[in-house]
Symmetry: C2
Subunit: 326 residues, 2 copies
Amino acid sequence: MADLQDAAPASSLAEVGEFGLIDRITARLPRLPGVIVGPGDDTAVVSAPDGRVAVTTDVLVEGRHFRREWSSAADVGHKAAAANLADIAAMGAVPTALVVGFGAPGGLPAQWALDCARGIAEEAAGAGAAVVGGDVVASGIVIIAITALGDLQGRAPVLRSGARPGDVLAIAGRVGWSAAGLALLEAGAEGPAELIAAHRRPEPEYQAGPRAAIAGATSMIDVSDGLVADAAHLADASGVMVDIDTGTDALAVTEAMQRAADLLGADPRSWMMRGGEDHGLLATFPAGVQMPPSFRVIGRVAGGAAGVVQVDGSAWTGAGGFDHYR
Amino acid sequence: MADLQDAAPASSLAEVGEFGLIDRITARLPRLPGVIVGPGDDTAVVSAPDGRVAVTTDVLVEGRHFRREWSSAADVGHKAAAANLADIAAMGAVPTALVVGFGAPGGLPAQWALDCARGIAEEAAGAGAAVVGGDVVASGIVIIAITALGDLQGRAPVLRSGARPGDVLAIAGRVGWSAAGLALLEAGAEGPAELIAAHRRPEPEYQAGPRAAIAGATSMIDVSDGLVADAAHLADASGVMVDIDTGTDALAVTEAMQRAADLLGADPRSWMMRGGEDHGLLATFPAGVQMPPSFRVIGRVAGGAAGVVQVDGSAWTGAGGFDHYR
């Protein structure tokens, strides 16, 4: 896909045209097994060997979810795909296919759209999924609406509602890195680089989802709204209380995170408790179960007040996650 | 779904909040068989009994695909769902599920979003499909990004590429009504009402798609870009020439269409040849095959120059369909 760069450098979408853009994108998409009909017809047709299909959709809007001055087009593509692929993984399913709705102004450089498409396709391929179709429309701002499909491989989906008192709470993936990276970008800082990179291009542990299902996870959720907010979604759906223990190794403040916090005069715990978009997989397992290697314990499930999240033994009173209209 | 109207009349999305809006929408979605996990988890899970799933996505953008002053929220919802459901039908598949990405400004009346969601759910239900999930984001303009899934019921998908010389060309559904309705709205006209209604709320013949597949259709396409443009897509994919005969009954100018043309000083044939968005199903059948009742012959498939569309024996030289960037 490295050669997905054949628009003349100065070409705009208006010059390339809707169908020209689609041709350039689809000509270079990798073909994967499981894709029965690829792009170019009224619909794609994808194998669903399980007889059930997991489906999720996420919309990214310029200025809300990304800024073109802060992220490359490929970064934005990777991030948009990751948000969807992580949701598939959080059901314990394996991603199979993406379809992509793309809106942009006619004046957008065609290369931006091609690079974004490349980022989406690369992130999908890394998770084993193919881009099988899409739609391109004119829009005043860049919009990326992705839908991901996944296969459950014969397993029951891992819902948010299965956590039971006595389960351990564990996470696979980063916590608060993306939020710290965003704060650094907002402040005009240029490092720590790994935090900024984590904001631009999250790296969810897709394989940890199906592995958690196989290991017997009782519940699972993709952390996209923030650790406490998504733990609350899980606690609410399961009718349990969740205790997060910030003294666990997995929630230790990393050296980079501490440096960023010192630089900005911020509290690194706030990024870790409230930050989303790292797309870590938060799961519960029965005590004593051998968890997949990516998962690290960060707390436990208790009875008590349903839907409540405690942090270090006290009910969380800080602000929760992100509400798009608040 | 008639009671999907419980936002206080003056509430904005910002007042109701992202999660409040989602709760209000999902609480009233009908549950259909085939939905294994509905809205509210990381993904939905939908039955895919065929072992393959048809998938398509379309994005509608305010000001491009609809105007809030010309269409009600429910109309917009119906239209957005129809564009996707018709693509599923055009593969010969049966729609099973939709997921909906919805972007809107915080100041949008919450009732508009609820009515739009109701329109989507009603159009889906009419085609046998359920709304199983979605995403709600803040956006400067209203964006509706829908992905539809469909089941092929054990049949081969009907591709664009199967037309053969000697086949008849036939259409199920309206031709040019939506374009005429749009022209009337643009001119500030209030009738003919059936044309304006057709623009606001297309009525694709979803069942005609699977029926065409069963009857042996060799190719099929949803007419969304315009009759000539979509016939050209089909001719191009199949490597054949397509002859459209405007003297056929199915392409007769209706009394309402003539009235609209007289009112606006327009050529009704232009609406019929170039207009999309009625989502008629354009298909080819081997000569002598008994077509499903919705289909009416409008021409034939010939050898000759691949990808060429002739209208009444002459290559079409008028402008084609719609390119979003041109």
